[in-house]
Each structure stands twice: as C-alpha cells, then as structure tokens.
C-alpha cells in the first residue's frame, strides 16, 4: 500500500482529534478577528430597531438543547435588543424538549435587562400540536395558551394588552433547529395571519431557507453561530457567539486543509495507477 493510499484510509479518530483541537484551542486563546455584517442579519436587526415602543414582538424558541450552542446566543442577542427597545416580548416554543431551556433563557435575559414578567414579557411555554399551534394562535391566543408557563392566566396580562391573536403581533421571529420552525411559521402563520416574519436557524439548515429570504417570505435570516455573532456586534454586546467565531474559523480552515490533502493524495494515487498501467 502506497503512502497516499495509507493516508486516504487514515483512522477517522485522527481527524476527530484535529477537529477537537481546532475547536478547543481558539476558545482558550481567542484571536478576535473582525466580523462583517451580512444584509440578512441586518434585516432582522433593522426591523426591530424601527419598531415603536411597546409593539408586540413574538419570539418562538423552536429548538432543543441539542442546538443550544448555535441558537442560544441568537436568542439572547435578539431578546436583549427587544428589551432595550422596550418592546412587549411574547415568547413560546414549538419544541417540547426545549421548554425548560427556553424558560431559563427568557427569565435570565429579562432579569438582566430589568424587565417584569407579565408586564414586559411572558413565556407562554409549549402546547401540543406542532404546526397546529400556529394555526390555533392565529385564531385565538387565549384558547391556545389559557395560562403561561408559570401557570398564570394569560388573559389580563399587561404584556398581552390588545393582543387577541397572531394578527396583533407586529413582528415574529422563529429561531429554529428544524421542523416545526421558520417554514411552518411562514406557511401557517405569516401567510394566513399577515404579520412580518424573521428567522434564525442552525448553520446546517440556513442554505435551505435562502429561497424564503430571496422571495421576501421572511425579512431577515440569522444563520448559525456566525449570524448570532453578527447580531451581537450589531447590538454592541459581544457574547458567546463572537467568542465562538475563532473556533469556527479554525475548524473551517482545518476542513479545507483536510479536503485539500485528501485531493492531493487522491491525485497522486491516480497518477501512480496510471504509471503502473503504462508500464504493464
């Protein structure tokens, strides 16, 4: 077996170690490279920025702990922005396994920004039905969520004053790791009940949502950790996402180097085979 062949059949655990080191080292020794703001992230930021005070902003935290590293920083940055703009923030989740995490997240950011539950924000929790919940919310919010996650009756909460259904929401953002997520919020929500919609998602599914963005079905898209880092820069509060960008840079570079190496070995192997063929 030639060197190139051996290298191509390398134990994948070696690759795992390389990726592990590329993630760990930049986290321990950050470099802090500049991050450029993309138009799709700015779309969400600008919309929230121009919303009048006490407008109703709905944040659907449609992910579970598995996607926490990518979507949690997005949620924190958006919540900080919304609270800073004094919007009425209504939060919920369509993913049952994300309920506890979402509650902690919303409570933590609200406390940090000095906001009061029931007056400035609420966390409605989770209701069974997936996409059906969006349809039900479009009909009547109080029927879908008679009480919030803390068990308090939703009707009469100052944060929901004048809000009867999704039609009364000024802007909604779904931070999604899959289905139900941004697409479901468009098909069953925005399309039927006419409110502006933005999206946030994991890096893996972001390219799949670009057609929605291009056709104006969503007005902005925060994609993966990079999107979260851009949002953190926009609001001027660098957090976990900006810190993680160096690690992401290093892993991307490592993968590019690995792909380049594998191609070098592949072509050298092909040349060897051709030479052997010519000799015989």
């Amino acid at each position: 077996m030639s060197f190139a062949e051996r290298m191509l059949k390398i134990d994948r655990r070696i690759i795992f170690v390389v990726i592990g080191l590329c993630t760990l080292l930049p986290l321990l020794y950050p470099v802090g490279l500049p991050i450029k703001i993309s138009s799709e992230v700015r779309g969400v930021y600008d919309y929230i920025e121009q919303m009048p005070e006490r407008s109703v902003f709905l944040l659907s935290i449609d992910f579970d702990p598995a996607s926490k590293p990518e979507l949690y920083p997005q949620a924190v940055a958006i919540l900080r922005h919304a609270f800073r703009k004094n919007l009425r923030v209504v939060t919920m989740t369509l993913w049952v396994s994300g309920t506890g995490m979402a509650d902690q997240l919303v409570t933590q950011v609200a406390q940090e920004m000095g906001k009061e539950r029931g007056k400035d924000y609420t966390f409605l929790g989770w209701s069974p039905g997936g996409t059906a919940v969006i349809i039900n919310l479009g009909q009547d919010l109080y029927n879908t969520f008679p009480s919030d996650y803390a068990g308090k009756t939703t009707k009469g909460q100052p944060v929901l004053d004048g809000v009867q259904s999704l039609r009364d929401v000024s802007y909604a953002v779904s931070l999604a790791a899959g289905n139900p997520g941004v697409e479901a919020w468009y098909v069953f929500g925005k399309d039927k009940y006419k409110f502006e919609l933005g999206g946030g998602c994991t890096g893996v599914i972001a390219p799949g949502l670009y057609p929605l963005l291009r056709s104006g079905q969503i007005n902005g898209l925060i994609g993966g950790l990079r999107g979260a880092a851009e949002y953190e820069i926009l609001i001027g509060q660098k957090g976990r996402a900006v810190a993680g960008m160096d690690a992401q840079s290093a892993t991307h570079l490592a993968i590019i180097v690995l792909v380049a190496l594998c191609n070098i070995f592949y072509f050298s192997m092909r040349r060897q085979a051709r030479r052997q063929g010519e000799r015989s």
Partner: protein, 216 residues
Amino acid sequence: MIFLRRQLPLLITMITGLVFAGQYYVPHPASEQVLTSATKWMQIIGGFALVLGVTSLFHVHAAKIRRKEAGWGYSVVLYAGMLGTIAVGFWANGKESVEGVSTAFGWVYNFMMVPLQGTMFAILAFFIASAAYRSFRARSREAAVLLIAAVIVMMGRVPLGEYLIPMSGDLSQWILNVLNASVRRAILIGVSLGTVALSLKIIFGVERSYLGGGKE
C-alpha cells in the same frame, strides 16, 4: 370487514381531503373553525398514538431482556431511565424549576438531557470533517466545481476566511443567494408537484398502498 378495512378509510380520506383542500379557498371564520377543530382532533389522536409507541418500545425491550439478547443490559438501562424520569416528572409536577429553584426533574433535564443532546449534535462537526476527508474528491469536473464552491463558502462564512481572502464573503453570499437559492427552487418545484400529485392520488383513492399494500 372489507368495508371497515378498505372502503371506509378511503371514504374518510376522500371527504376530509376534499373538505380541507376546499377550506384553503374559504376565508369565512366557520372554515377557520373547522380547521382549528381538525387540528385539535389531530393533537388528541397524536396523544393517544403515543400509547402505541410506548407499548411497542416496552414490548421490544422486554423481549430482549427475556431472551437475554446481546446488549440486553442497555434495555434495562432504558427501562430504568424511562420509569425513573416519569416518576421524577410526576413528583415535580412537570416543572423544571419552582420559583427559580431547580426541581429533580429540572436536574434530569439540565444535567442529563441538555449535555447528552448537545454531545450528539456536536458529533456532527467531527462527522462532517471525516465525511469530507473521505469523499470530497475532485473525481470529475462537476465534483471539482462543487469542491471549489464549498471551499469559497466555508471561507466566506468565517472571519478568518474573510480576513485571508476579503472577497470570499461576497462570493459566498452570491453563491448562497443566487446559485443555491435557484437550484433549491428548482428542486422545490419538482417536490411540490410530486406532493400535489401524491395528495390527489390519495384523496381520490388511486394510491392505497399506505393502507397496507394490496390492491383490494
């Protein structure tokens, strides 16, 4: 019997299929109400269906333990984990925290589920790297084009890439916004037509194999 197994389900499918296809064109609140009721029915049926699933799960793993199949110990762990979590969940009334204090259920959620799920998702990065190393080769011109596009997007999506090759950011945006979006739309058109055709076949009873194969 054949009526209950064949004709009745087909009839229900046809009626509900046509009603809900028509519902899309009726903006009246009564039509919205029908949709809301149907979604609630779906939720209820979905809830009962979970019983089916859990029964299947218990049955499969009970058989494994009984037969002492290879890896039957994992089935015991599954039983313990499932029953334990249900018990803790009932005890904590399904709440992860009460007035800011974490419950036992919250402990299970925060210190078992969150890290385990995070670990599973994190493995993705390692697997992407190994899969790319193993199979991302410029075997043909088309593969070479894909490879170059992938490298540009990978460079353009991280600050280091933009720092080393400043135009990679704009190029990757262009690839994502123009090339990627148009190709995805093309796939989406095909998929949507397939979906509509399949739905029509199901509604009109032309496609019946989902009821259990067989023609009649």
